[in-house]
Amino acid sequence: MKNIKALSVTASIMGLLAAPAVAGPDSDSLVINGELEMVTETAAPEHLDGAVGDTIYSGWRFRTDETQALQLDDFDNPAMLTVDKAIDYFNTVDGSEGKSCASCHEGPEEFAGLTASLPRVEDGKLVVLEDIINGHRAEVMGAEPWKWSGQDMQGMVALIGLQSRGMPVDVKIDGDAAPFWEQGKEMYYTRYGQLELSCANCHEQNYGNMIRADHLSQGQTNGFPVYRLKQAQLISKHNRFRGCIRDTRAETFAEGSDEFRALELYVASRGNGLSIETPAVRQ
């Protein structure tokens, strides 16, 4: 990996990266509902070997005060509308077996901690939350699978993620997860598209700088799914990955592809230690 990083083009990537108008993360602290303190910066995980410096930061720290404010209070957070619908859905019978989520599960609270540990390997396969939800829909409920980035699916992903809010991201990268993690790492440092940009070019080498009008973050996923002001709805991790790769003018991988599962694991591991913020609000 070292030799790839050595090809850094820090000065300018085709003129896209302007001199920083705002450098680095701000110094605000995130306390949700006036009581839940979030870890938005912490020591970088060892496996990063200093690649981002000593510290990892939540994407929240790179947003304007106005965007940050939307995440301070659950009432102001528009993502909660979709979470509310997911709570209704949790108790609604769907599919051929006449079951709802609530037929088997006490309540969403049962899933505290789950999101913090995903993706993980089950029976030799790398599994993310969308897989678990659609798996239960198919096998237990006899219901149609939800579309990966649909608001039904992402509302449920957000509701379950909310149960882990405030807990540190803690994905396993060794043992049976190792080969998937290595695959994701390889992707992270691979230059894609006509612009020949890797994830690392923007989110490791240039976080804090401006890319055109966007203030680059470290690309952490601890707040996903996020309510994105641009689309005014919940955006999945895989949708975000696809958007980034498309912006390099590349053919992208599909949402729900094995490639994106592996990348999801690797990117999550770069945020080990940050608080789960799900559902966060971003621009």
Binding site: F75, D76, P78, L81, D84, K85, A232, Q233
Partner: protein, 109 residues
């Protein structure tokens, strides 16, 4: 009725008589502006919440006219005086004729 419209309202349940209280409201709604086109190039017709009212025991607090420039999931924050115990009624009027209401009781001391 537009699909899945869901109001959320935040009102303190207790207040001192005559006190000003902060009210926040949010409703899930696409607020289709009438400016967008679908993938075939046809204009997607306007479909918005066009009016929002807040009343307390039949007396008006605020009556808002909304245009397509109000964001998806319309949000309002304002202050109301609560003269006595009673009930807030919040009403949203949809272009398609649907009316969504939500009520919240407040007890004064």
């Amino acid at each position: 009725m537009a699909d899945g419209v869901k109001p959320r309202v935040k009102v303190p349940s207790k207040a001192a008589a005559g006190e000003a209280i902060v009210i926040k409201t949010l409703i899930s709604h696409q607020m289709e502006s009438g400016q967008r086109k679908d993938s075939d190039g046809n204009v997607i017709p306007r479909s918005i919440i066009n009016r929002f009212t807040a009343d307390f025991n039949g007396q008006n607090v605020v009556d808002v006219t909304l245009e397509p420039a109000i964001s998806t999931n319309p949000y309002f924050e304002f202050e109301a005086t609560v003269p006595e115990s009673g009930e807030f009624t919040f009403t949203w009027y949809d272009d398609d004729g649907s009316v969504y209401t939500e009520t919240k009781s407040v007890e004064t001391s």
